[in-house]
Amino acid sequence: MEVKINKNMRSVSIVGIGATPFFNGVENETYRGLSNGELFGHAALDAMKDAGIQPKDVQFFFHGSANPYVLNHCITPNIQVADWCGMRGKGSISHSEACCTGYIALEEAVFAVASGAYDVVLTGAADQATSMPDGNTPAHRRVPMTSEVLFPDLDSIFDAAYGRYLGGGPGMNHDDWINYYAHEYNFSKEFIDDVLAHQAYHFRRAATLCPRAIRRKPYEEIAKEAGYDDVWEYMKSPHNPKMTQYLRTSSDSCVADGAGACIVVPTEIAHKFTDKPVKVLGIGASVLDAIVPHLEKKATAEAARQVYELTGLTADDMDILYVNDFIGSSAFLAAEEVGYLPKGEGWKYVLDGSIAYDGDKPINTNGGRTSYGHAMAASGMADVFEAVTQMRGEAGERQVKKLPKHVLLRGFGGGQNVRCIILESDF
């Protein structure tokens, strides 16, 4: 059933962005012992600073986290982080949509401003996915996340009435779309393997130039260290093993800790805060549970259709695409589904590097989940951070060739929520 979405009551713009690096808080001594409140606080205060405001100027905030109970042993994290960004006593909400949280964080804040209720809203997301609380002790004490805790808990994103116990959806989550694609266009498994290797390789090239990314070592260097002169031989070696039928480690997300935040205001006053505001033109939304065959493809198509219809723009107008690719293959598959790359031909753009930050059809210019890292809820906000950075022309060595006017973000997560967000530079 298709939905037609309406224009917001008033236009909303992003005027400030902030983000911590993505890191492994278990292994990295610089960051070990930081609490969720501190991470959120740093990202939030950075976003305020970027917008030229202080906590006293912010009226309301949203806190997103993928799984606050397991990762942080709390159920209303907004209350517990408020004091960390000078927001004590003000209104706030915590929300949780698993790996789509960071995109919905933007949607929620946009609605709060678009309605007219608030003029200056902070929205952010923070997660520490590499570790978990050390029993019932203060927040700086964390222990490594174990598969005994994580794996059974991952099932909690699937429908408890039926799908989780009928079992097919949870087992198809990663490979369904790429398998469908391979059959639709009659591609061999070896060919798909090659395409995914190239995609991971080009995303790493971007992450190498992105100081906030968790994995920055080029694949050439990793291959050499493992004894391979040929990087492509390494990519298909046991050093890069298959984790699913199609996805090798290089196409699997790298679990991380981190936070991101932004400040949104009505477009009509955005220029008072920054010379380079970015408008949120529209947000398409579709949600399907994992029992539905080919759900990622279907929900992506519907969310994209909504936002194109609303904005009157097409995929040809998009200058960069961001895809939540914790399932690595999602990146070029979603690019085809939203029309950013031609149907059935996305692989060409992967193999020749057009999808790289320095190519003509850039995707995930921060390296995406496989290289930038995946701090669950914070990942979507990290995409917003990178998108705005690129639109402002402030991405340094990984700045795309053409200053982007429009950017499309495809959020995905939680068994699964999908959002398609179009941003437009307003300067």
Binding site: A161, Y162, G167, L247
Partner: protein, 145 residues
């Protein structure tokens, strides 16, 4: 005048949809719902119709027969541990039931060799398996050869 209070059960006497479904599987019966408006089969059963958005549906039973249209093997990242622990050979795939609805399901009895055999013959017929998981009976499928 004697005041008459309406009992809660008189205005809210809900059927237990999820419970009926799982109890049905224990008896070898597959319950579904049919939309009272568009006739689409809602499976697994819910309250309203997810095809046309009509609020009312009626109970029906399905044969559990259908066709397997696509499937994947699982790996270390997405293995179904409750099946691995039982030593089962399985794939996860899209099953379209003869009555119309499609779902992602578990198909038992397919090892790598069998998988290669049927891959180019898709879609292939499947039939239901009522599998005892201990505390509940679930619905899997197997090849109907």
């Amino acid at each position: 005048m004697v005041s008459q209070k309406i009992k809660t059960e008189e205005f809210w006497n809900p059927e237990h949809v999820v419970e009926k479904f799982w109890n049905g599987l224990k008896e070898g019966v597959i319950y579904a719902k049919k939309c009272s408006n568009c006739g689409a089969v809602e499976f697994p059963p819910h309250l309203a119709c997810n095809t046309c958005g009509y609020p009312e549906t009626e109970w029906i039973q399905l044969t559990g027969k259908g066709k397997l249209k696509s499937f994947v093997f699982t790996g270390v990242l997405n293995a179904r541990l409750e099946l691995e622990d039982r030593g089962l050979k399985y794939v996860c795939g899209e099953v379209e039931l003869d009555e119309g609805p499609s779902l992602n399901a578990v198909i038992l009895g397919i090892n790598k060799k069998k998988g290669r055999e049927i891959e180019d013959k898709l879609p292939v017929r499947v039939r239901p398996v009522f599998y005892d998981m201990g505390e509940y009976t679930t619905l899997f499928f197997e090849l109907d050869e």
